[in-house]
Symmetry: C2
Subunit: 458 residues, 2 copies
């Protein structure tokens, strides 16, 4: 590894910062067009917020992004092109609902609340879906109430519009599940726009016909690995955190811990919060810089507990659980396709992730297993394997799944999200025009940014 | 200037990052206790968000922090110790209120709205002052409604509680004036806590008996200059942006563009948003890192227009103006104490600052002079001097006056604001326990951080 700033800079037409899915898709597209490109990655691995792990039992589990679903056409095409093997998320059986300390089960999309609670939840969902449709996907700021909605939080909307404790708790859990944040952190406009990009609240929260429909046998990190392998080692440099991007009249000098590159254009394919930590010369315009100060990452720790068999299936449970108490408030079946072992994937979300980040894996395991045992009984008490990923503590992500915009940010800074700054272009799922926050958005953004660069290079 | 990482590191017991007021006060206190200290400053000047400028006419004007007031005892003592000359902010005469395109004047604290508007404004102020008192200054999270208040914005509170257009506009202007942000950006809890720290809404917004009471003939940057001069050139290193802070069992290695220092303790005396852009080894705990992602700086451009004389005084005006339209919505008399020239200081705040940041000084001058002419007539149309400071574009501040917390941040991350991380301590007015956002808070925070370090050094 070279010392920063030493030696003559290497050359490429384009430098991509970040070998996550978005950056690699951009690089692949540039390479296919015959453009010389190098991808600089801070970590010693590719894949960014996709991270696939092989358990002691030999099962591949996703500690990062895990599902694709309908209307995610780019991802569907990409996994097919790469020859990867999809299978359906397991959903058959009763779902567990834990509300106010009471466990119930249900089989439809709408959990078994009290009659009044169920009606209230139905009304709430319908109201949100109606509001979502009022946000134009091409320009959320043109919604008639854009400024009113960006002036308040999902929490404040909930307090005003949702009456029953059950429906409130369900909305809280849905928000945490989709955003890895508390309803208090979210601008109502950003919330609606994010849902709009994916096709609505039910589309984002469902398994069947929803964003949790399809898994990948090889795990989704494999998508990035295969793209990187095709690009070749000389075009994907690991252990190369980018520290400085200096533009001048003739090009750009990109300084990383693994050396310096000189290029014509740069694509920064990391979240705005991390992009803001790079030193730019000249400094970024205030609108872009202030956006990077206002686009924090969500808070989530993902964990997978493995069992000898998917014992809950035999008992008629789907493995899905939703709760308003406990450290882990959302669970899905995570068993391998052939059911040779059982696995449950759980999420510490929002305030629960913040409470458990930095704790020992043992402490988190205990908290997770406590939740799983509450949902699925004593058989869940002794997993044969446990693994988790503390995304907020992860130095080169600093949170997951994606950025979480508070009030006042979208209306003030939306125009800075994708606008190139001189020779610097922005990718990453945060900049997507569809399915932002998802792998589909990462691909769309990588394609869009590489198209910008191709047009600029002529 | 040395190359990064080259040569043997220099040594000091304590490195202070940032030669703003807070860092310099900390360094002064450490030096007085006989501790070897070095202050590393990114800019080629000291003073941070204080910046005093001498006009072509020889008048000293403050393009950064400009006033101190009652209960700011540390600053009062400090300017006296340093032998600096205070004088009272000019306030005699009629104030201008521009509301919905109509200009009126008033002489008291409460502007001349319609009768109903005035009553509504009075009720609003009284309500806010009552809420402020319900926030315990030692622990804002222990307020009975802390979580509810941190779940909503000042904008949403206003829409619900303030009825008349005039009172709403006055509240908007007060929020912009105090926070350099729009009401939509602010958590209601953060808003109340910030006011509580300074003594309430009227204390923060008033001249007489308020935070705009007293100016400094030499300009407030002189405070930092004199402290730096006393520390000496070898202890205050300019042009030294700190890039990396690496802790190990024996101490800390601080890497800057002007070389590397080895020390026992570090005080980071820059705002959290900028502190988050330093590379830490080991990485910061998630709670602290996520705070730095969630503590953006306010948006303000400050401008000063100079005239041959303070012509508005002769016409019976105080020079103070408040408006709900135009680029500059807040103005004060900024003439030198002897009135030998006239000057007006104006603020582009919140969305107006964002709209004008990065524009040419000529464009901003035109917008400012348009506003001043609306308020004070054609005599304001041709200033003999104009100067401004675009704080959001300023690379080593990236906004002013201070951090602006949105909903959900204080309740989730308050504990990370001051808590040392190993050998790294946090100063800066954002970490203050009184008068956060003000020079008084900067001093309090510098004293507190240096006391922590003295205790740790034994």
């Amino acid at each position: 590894m070279e010392e920063t700033g030493q030696g003559a800079p290497r050359e490429a037409s384009v430098v991509v910062v970040g070998a996550g899915l978005s950056g690699l898709v951009a690089a692949r597209r540039l390479a296919a067009a015959g453009v010389s490109v190098v991808v600089l990655e801070a970590r010693d691995r590719v894949g960014g917020r996709t991270l696939s792990h092989t358990t002691a039992q030999g099962d591949r589990v996703d500690l990062g992004a895990q599902w694709i679903g309908p209307t995610q056409d780019r991802m569907t095409k990409l996994v097919a092109e790469l020859g990867l093997s999809t299978f359906k998320q397991w959903y058959d059986g009763k779902k567990v609902l834990s509300l106010g300390g009471t466990l119930t089960t249900y089989k439809t999309s709408i959990p078994s609340l009290s009659l009044i609670g169920a009606v209230d939840l139905g009304i709430t969902i319908q109201r949100i879906e109606t509001l979502v449709k009022e946000v134009p996907i091409e320009d959320p700021l043109s919604a008639a109430k854009a400024f009113e909605w960006d002036g308040t939080t999902v929490e404040a909307w909930k307090r005003k519009n949702v009456k029953t404790r059950g429906a409130k708790a369900m909305l809280d859990t849905a928000v945490r599940a989709v955003f890895a944040a508390e309803p208090s952190e979210l601008s109502l406009l950003f919330f609606l726009y994010y849902l709009r990009q994916g096709g609505g609240l039910m589309r984002l929260t469902e398994i069947v016909n929803g964003a949790q429909e399809t898994r990948l046998a090889e795990g989704f990190q494999e998508v990035s690995k295969r793209i990187a392998r095709a690009l070749g080692e000389e075009r994907v440099v690991l252990g190369a955190p980018v520290r400085r991007i200096a533009q001048d009249a003739g090009g750009v000098t990109v300084t990383s811990d693994a050396g310096t590159w000189r290029c014509k254009r740069v694509i920064v394919a990391v979240p705005p919060a991390l992009a803001g930590r790079i030193d730019y010369e000249p400094g970024l315009p205030a609108s872009r810089d202030q956006l990077t100060q206002r686009s924090p990452m969500g808070s989530v720790i993902k964990c997978v507990a493995t069992y000898a068999s998917p014992f809950w299936r035999q008992a008629g449970y789907s493995g899905e659980a939703l709760s308003d108490v406990g450290s882990v408030k959302l669970v899905f079946d995570d068993s391998p396709e052939d059911g040779s072992h059982g696995a449950l994937v759980g999420f510490f979300m929002g305030k629960d992730a913040r409470a458990m980040s930095g704790k020992s894996p043992e402490e988190r395991k205990k908290a997770a297993v406590d939740s799983l045992t509450r949902f699925f009984g004593p058989s869940a008490a002794a997993p044969i394997d446990y693994v988790d990923q503390d995304w907020p503590a992860e130095r080169w992500s600093r949170g997951c799944y994606s950025m979480v915009l508070g009030p006042g940010v979208l209306t003030a800074h939306a125009s800075a999200l994708r606008a190139p700054v001189g020779r610097v272009h922005w990718a990453g799922t945060e900049t997507a025009r569809v399915w932002t926050g998802y792998m589909e958005g990462a691909v769309e953004a990588g394609e869009r940014a590489s198209d910008e660069v191709l047009a600029a290079l002529g």
